[in-house]
């Protein structure tokens, strides 16, 4: 596949690396000379220095043969203009990364189905909201129009689920444990797997029975009443708006006076404090000591980590930390600060998914390279149709989490047999992907 990427920032670099590894042809257009040179050294790609909306540059590099054009610079107008130009010049599909949500109403984006807008900040905000609505979980992802959910959650020590093999445990109806993170390893559980107290679970089940599931793990789900957000940027603002719509109290801390006024006027229901999120005085004034969640969403990774540490110290029950630079991912894991989220990885995940042309859901959410949730549609002559699930010889490192059949969706048991048109959500380690693809392909 021939892929153009406009902008070699964090996002551009991240996706380039993955796409090159997968054997795609990449043309990267970047304005900054230093970035161009760095990229040329590190990756086997064609890097062009210049403006991505320059038709000469696009034509000279064969834009008319491009299968995909990604406009992922940090500037909305540049992205919009270069994607529109690329489409006009013949790129088959173009994806535009946009920060400002008002572009949703831009008529330029409305009549071309192959010009696909993407709002990473909004996606991240929605991601955080989903988390907040399921207290105790550190990842929440909905499928099948919200009827099914994948949770990432740690069980309470006194839940009584530890030390016994899985087949002896009775979880709530309609839930399945699809993965266990033990230290740095990810395990796909079998009936004889024994749970240990340090384990973190991935589980798939019905959205309406989330409370029952959490209860079975001994997680006390106190309803969220107050969220403090450090940083009133695009993510912070969007999140504040989403949270007040859920009738949850929101406090936003924003350093610049102008931004603070903007947040206060856009989200009237939120209390906006002017000051630094790393100032304990301000955090206390915002009531972080009684907050159920502290979301660190400033532009600076360092500030986010520091603010979240402070908030936790002051008594915030849970923290969510945004980071932009991938170097911070490991730091965040070491200090074990609540949930780390990266808007850039969200974009990267979406883009990879589009290149793969299959619904790799929430790839962005999981630790890089260790697990994916893949959605497969069952074609007419697939191998999985032949016998019930337990006799299918499914790869050991993957597990069917849920099946969507028409309007129905459910967690299958061993006696379940696929039908044509079913959609399967498979939780898998990367090594099993190839054999899974064979099983679900039309022969």
């Amino acid at each position: 596949m021939k892929v153009f990427i406009a902008g070699a920032g964090e996002v551009g670099f991240h996706i380039s690396a993955s796409l090159v590894r997968e054997g795609h042809d990449l043309v990267i257009i970047e304005r900054d000379r230093e970035k161009v040179q760095r990229l040329e050294k590190l990756l086997d790609v064609l890097v062009v220095q210049g403006d991505a909306s320059n038709p000469h540059i696009l034509r000279a590099n064969g834009i008319e043969t491009a299968d995909l054009f990604f406009a992922v610079t940090n500037d909305d107008p540049t992205n919009l203009l270069s994607a529109l130009t690329a489409r006009k010049l013949g790129a088959a599909r173009a994806v535009v990364r946009l920060g400002q949500v008002f572009h949703e109403f831009n008529p330029l984006l409305q009549d071309d189905p192959d010009l696909i807008p993407m709002y990473p900040e909004k996606l991240v905000a929605e991601e955080i909201l989903a988390l907040i609505k399921v207290p105790g979980a550190s990842r929440v992802r909905y499928f099948a129009q919200g009827r099914l959910v994948l949770l990432h959650v740690r069980a309470s020590r006194d839940a009584g689920v530890f030390g016994k093999p899985l087949q002896d445990l009775r979880g709530p109806e309609g839930w399945i444990l699809t993965g266990i993170r033990r230290g740095s390893k990810l395990i796909i559980p079998r009936g004889d797997t024994t749970l240990q107290s340090e384990d973190v679970f991935y589980a798939v089940g019905r959205s309406e029975s989330i409370p029952e599931f959490m209860e079975s793990l001994g997680v006390k789900a106190q309803p969220v009443r107050h969220v403090v957000i450090g940083g009133g940027g695009q993510v912070g603002r969007t999140l504040a708006r989403l949270i007040v719509a859920e009738r949850i109290k929101v406090t936003v801390i924003q350093r610049s006076a102008e931004r603070a006024f903007q947040v206060a006027s856009e989200v009237p229901e939120a209390l906006v404090l002017r000051g630094s999120a790393t100032d304990p005085e301000i955090l206390r004034e915002g009531g972080v000591q009684e907050a159920d969640y502290f979301v660190a969403a400033t532009q600076s990774d360092e500030d986010n980590i520091f603010a979240a540490l402070l908030a936790r110290e002051l008594g915030a029950r849970s923290t969510v930390v945004l980071y932009h630079s991938s170097e911070f991912r490991n730091v965040l894991r070491t200090v074990r600060l609540g949930v780390p989220l990266s808007p850039r990885l969200v974009v990267a995940g979406m883009i990879l998914r589009m290149v793969h042309r299959r619904e790799v859901l929430s790839l962005d959410l999981f630790e890089e390279g260790d697990a994916e949730v893949v959605e497969f549609e069952v074609p007419a002559r697939a191998r999985v149709l032949r016998r019930p699930l337990k006799r299918l010889r499914f790869p050991r490192s993957s597990i069917v989490g849920a099946v969507v059949r028409g309007e129905e969706s459910f967690v299958p048991d061993g006696d379940f047999t696929f039908r044509e048109g079913d959609r399967a959500l498979v939780f898998t380690l990367p090594e099993a992907l190839t054999s899974l693809e064979k099983m679900f392909s039309d022969r």
């Binding site: 924003q254 006076a257 603070a260 006024f261 947040v263 206060a264 006027s265 009237p268 209390l271 906006v272 404090l273 002017r274 000051g275 301000i282 004034e285």
Partner: protein
């Protein structure tokens, strides 16, 4: 300072006033009345003065107008208009009437509606029309009119509009300021014509229908009858006048949007909603009080309360009842409503709904700030957050208004008037309402007041009509500063 430009424009305004004076002169001529001579002399005087200024300070280039020129011109224009407007009264009633004539004329142009004429019913049609016409011209603003008819005044026009416009900020409705001015005057004239037609069909004499339409739309309040609108004793007339007072007290920018095909604009506007809320709320309170303590029956209480409340809140000043003799609660509530005023961008005077709302909400946010010292708490109006500098300016206005009200009232007390008369007269003139309480109640006139009191009130009327800043700023203008 572009003094040449200011004087030239002043000349133009004098010519416009001369043209306006032709209307009552024509009526006098048509009625073959003895007042014709007074009006003709007035026309000639204004025209000659205007010609001298326009010829003497003819402008070779387009005007360059700054804030300074804007303030000076607007203030000078209104003082000039008040003086020219007084000519007919003086020529009709003699030199001893000079102060009273100035009072009546200023009360006209500033749309106050306070009168020194003890018996208007004996006055000629020509004078009654002139009286109402001054209010009509002053209602939308002589500068707005000037901008509408003076295409040359392109640069600095916004400054001028801002110096005269009622409300915290002047709003351009169209790309060009002259179009905005024309649109405003067009809507104003159309509404006036409609009201005059309806009143005519309800049986008023043409002159009376037109005169009352003039003074309703201007929220002026001059009437052709001693008993004001009450003289017609008609529910229909009451309701029609009430409706048009409400429209005149609403923001004309909203009327413009309605005319441009956005009928929802009026009712979606937060200030308009609060304005209607105040009218309804005060009417219910007063009607209840009138039934409970005033011995009214429910229906007449409602009718009187609605009319009086609308008249006071919109700062029109018509009356259908002697509200100064109402039970204390109703009277005091009406007194407080003298400080309410219509919406920003209306022809109404006083503080204006939006400013009162902003000041009250500012108080609320300041109290909240005691708990959260770092909180960013914008003052809101509907979905809009008001920028802090506008809030500060509105607060200053509010304080200045109350200070001037208190100072004016105190000065009248010093002149020997009773406190009720003094403070209500100060409030009613500063707010451009009209009738007050005590000896200046709705069934009385301002005639018996001492000369000094009348001059103080004239100053208050002009300061109030020009939204305080325009006049007060002149005191701070230093030469070549």
């Amino acid at each position: 300072m572009n003094l040449h430009g200011v004087l030239f424009l002043l000349g133009r305004i004098l010519l416009a006033l001369a043209a306006a004076l032709v209307i009552p002169a024509a009526i006098a001529w048509f009625n073959d009345g003895p007042e014709l001579r007074a009006f003709l002399v007035s026309v000639v005087l204004a025209a000659v003065a205007g010609l001298v200024l326009t010829r003497g300070f003819r402008q070779k280039h387009d005007f360059r107008f700054g804030r300074r020129e804007a303030f000076v011109l607007v203030a000078a224009a209104w003082v000039t208009a008040s003086i020219v407007g007084a000519f007919p009264y003086v020529f009709l009633k003699g030199p001893g009437f000079v102060v009273d004539a100035l009072f009546e004329s200023a009360s006209g142009f500033t749309t106050t509606g306070a009168s020194i004429l003890t018996d208007v019913e004996v006055e000629s049609d020509a004078l009654l029309i002139w009286r109402s016409l001054t209010q009509w011209l002053g209602g939308m603003g002589i500068i707005v009119l000037g901008i509408a008819i003076l295409p040359k005044l392109a640069i600095g026009g916004m400054e001028l509009l801002g110096a005269e416009a009622p409300g915290p900020t002047a709003e351009k409705l169209t790309p060009r300021i002259a179009q905005t001015a024309k649109a405003l005057w067009g809507i104003y004239a159309a509404l006036t014509a409609i009201e005059a037609a309806i009143l005519f069909f309800l049986g008023l004499r043409p002159v009376e229908a037109i005169a009352h339409a003039f003074t309703t739309m201007a929220t002026g309040g001059f009437s052709t009858r001693n008993a004001s609108i009450g003289a017609f004793d008609s529910v229909a007339v009451d309701l029609v006048v009430t409706l048009f007072m409400v429209l005149a007290g609403a923001n004309f920018a909203l009327h413009f949007k309605v005319v441009r095909g956005k009928p929802g604009a009026l009712f979606r506007d937060p200030e308009f909603q609060i304005y209607i809320g105040i009218l309804v709320g005060a009417t219910i309170l007063i009607a209840t009080n009138l039934v409970a303590q005033g011995g009214h029956d429910a229906l007449s209480a409602l009718r009187d309360a609605l009319f009086q409340v609308t008249s006071i809140v919109t700062t029109t000043g018509f009356a259908t009842a002697t509200f100064s003799a109402w039970p204390y609660f109703s009277a005091v509530l009406l007194f407080f409503l003298l400080f309410m005023g219509g919406c920003a961008g209306s022809t109404g005077g006083s503080i204006k709904v939006v400013r009162n709302v902003i000041v009250i909400r500012k108080l609320a946010t300041d109290l909240r700030r005691k708990i959260h010292p770092h909180a960013v708490l914008p003052v809101r109006l509907g979905a809009r957050a008001i920028p802090d500098d506008v809030v500060a300016s509105v607060t200053t206005f509010f304080i200045l208004f109350l200070t001037l009200f208190a100072a004016g009232g105190l000065a009248l007390v010093l002149l020997g008037l009773d406190p009720l008369t003094s403070f209500s007269a100060s409030a009613t003139c500063l707010g451009n309402v009209g009738p007050g309480f005590g000896i200046v109640g709705p069934d009385r006139t301002f005639a018996p007041l001492p000369v000094a009191a009348k001059l103080i009130l004239v100053a208050e009327m002009l300061i109030g009509r020009l939204e305080i800043y325009t006049i007060l700023v002149l005191l701070f203008l230093r030469r070549r500063a």
